[in-house]
């Protein structure tokens, strides 16, 4: 009962939120919504214990694929977004063959190399990827109406509602997966892969499964981004963006579902709203870097550990 009330209040607050913001803040809110999906999918990937540095490039695969599906084939935008997500998942599946021969640090570097290769291919091949300048004039989401609300996608608020709904559904699916026997198996693979194997679990298959699903959601995030900003290039998905994702996850903490989302929201608010308003334009990366260092030094288990201490012990899974 209490949870239902909190849920409804939260939903209402999220619906009302953009109306108290300036236009540029509304745009940031759209990016934030997309990034929440990205970072939540990243946590799904890390559930089996492997940390990838190629996740943002996989997001880019979804963005490029969706943009090209509309540009070249003239597909309906929502359909091409879904196909973009599937493409990202398929690319991840292909990459899993070399990458899951590695573990730990080697996986980290291997995923980084694989991602950089994809980015260089975008740069090298002007046709169809547009080379270093990338793709421009990507079709926007077509306007539509659901009776009581007209979606006009020149307005960030409309796109926020659209992306927010998509992201909410995705989060719900990811939450269901984690709190299911499949999710329990992911955790088992992470904590003791040998014992998991002895229980008949095909460890590599489960690592691949987490990687592919997470990549699909990241690809969808990329597609949502591409059709909002209308232009993407190889540098939109470079390692600096990956560093941001990594930071959100670590500052927020990865032990809980909401930890990375919390990290993403808090750091985005700090970075885009507080520091921008205070006029620290050039100093923002400096303060951001300092926040990263301070949080890893003094809050190694992330912001979520503070919340957990306030709320009490966590409930059991499965």
């Amino acid at each position: 009962m209490l949870r239902a009330v909190i849920g409804i209040a939260l939903a209402a607050a999220l619906v009302a939120l953009p109306h108290g913001l300036s236009f540029s803040q509304q745009e940031i809110l759209v990016f934030l919504t997309i990034n929440v999906l990205l970072v939540a999918s990243y946590r799904l990937l890390t559930l089996t214990g492997e940390w990838s540095l190629g996740h943002v490039v996989i997001m880019g695969v979804g963005a490029y694929a969706s943009a090209l599906f509309t540009k070249q084939l003239g597909l309906f935008v929502p359909l091409s977004m879904l196909l973009g997500a599937l493409t990202a998942a398929a690319v991840a599946w292909a990459l899993s063959f070399p990458l899951f021969r590695m573990k730990g640090f080697y996986f980290l570097i291997g995923s980084f190399a694989a991602g950089e290769i994809i980015r260089l291919l975008w740069k090298r091949f002007r046709d169809p990827f547009g080379g270093p300048k990338g793709l421009k004039g990507i079709d926007p989401m077509p306007d539509f109406s659901i009776g009581f609300y007209d979606f006009d996608f020149f307005e960030p608020v409309s796109y926020y509602y659209f992306a927010g709904t998509v992201v909410a559904v995705c989060l719900w699916i990811m939450w269901r997966i984690e709190h299911s026997p499949v999710g329990l198996t992911f955790h088992a693979v992470h904590w003791q892969d040998k014992l998991a194997q002895a229980s008949g679990i095909d460890v590599r298959a489960y690592r691949t499964r987490a990687f592919v699903i997470a990549s699909g959601f990241a690809g969808l995030a990329g597609a949502l981004l591409a059709h909002y900003i209308g232009t993407i290039n190889p540098n939109s998905f470079d390692v600096e963006v990956m560093v941001f994702v990594l930071t959100w996850a670590i500052v927020g903490g990865t032990a809980t579902f909401y930890g990375p989302i919390l990290g993403c929201v808090m750091l985005t608010v700090l970075n885009e709203i507080v520091l921008r308003e205070l006029g620290f334009e050039q100093m923002r990366p400096l303060i951001y870097g300092a926040v990263m260092i301070l949080s890893i030094l003094f809050l190694p288990k992330g912001l979520e550990s503070v919340v957990e201490r306030l709320v009490g012990p966590r409930r059991a899974r499965a």
């Binding site: 269901r176 026997p181 194997q197 002895a198 229980s199």
Partner: protein, 255 residues
Amino acid sequence: MSPILEVDGLTMRFGGLTAVDGLSFSVAEGVIHGLIGPNGAGKTTTFNAISGFYRPSGGEIRLRGQVISGQPMHEVARRGLVRTFQHSTLFAELTVLENAVVGTHMVHRPNLLAAVTGSDRAARAEARERARAALDFFGLAGQENERAGDLAHGHQRALGMAVAYAAGPQIVLLDEPFTGMNPEETRAMMVLMEKLRDSGVTILIVEHDMHAIMGLCERITCMSFGKLLAEGAPREIREHPDVIEAYLGGTHHAA
């Protein structure tokens, strides 16, 4: 009775070192079988080769006549041979019940789509029931919501066996299950093993301390320097001159 597990000419080489050299023995169904030997005899290597952790350099391992050597560990497990690990290898961060539920993986294979739609509710309930039954079997019924890493040492060992039992194995391999246990815990563990055997599961125990398992095993295989030394009933093994020599001779300390 036909053997459930046959080891046939097993050889394991690491670089220039031959750890196991043409070892052959078989385990009859429904017994507790011991594999013993002094330090460095190659017991643990043999154990790892049987469970699929290592790929043998030579020879064959058969489970009910089916070749399992060379298969990865999860495939071996799926055919009914489940191993435990030395010490307290558990999913320490998960609860006791969750540990046992992971053990039911082969019986109730998780399904991704059903997990999202929620149509696997019945399967989940069955998996939990099965896991609870396994915990009950090993006397852990009251502790299912504790974190596995927080359990007492003896209970962690019991949980390790419960996880294996939840998988519904035909034969269980136990890796030095008495190491680090006090006499009381050892006795309790022996009772559990006999109970497990009586439920129809064949058991193969690898143990360094031969006295510990003399009273427990129906049959014992003793190896030394990677080769079969003697095989027989506990009394025969205890009195076998080669076994006495292997355990007392050289620099090996008497166990």
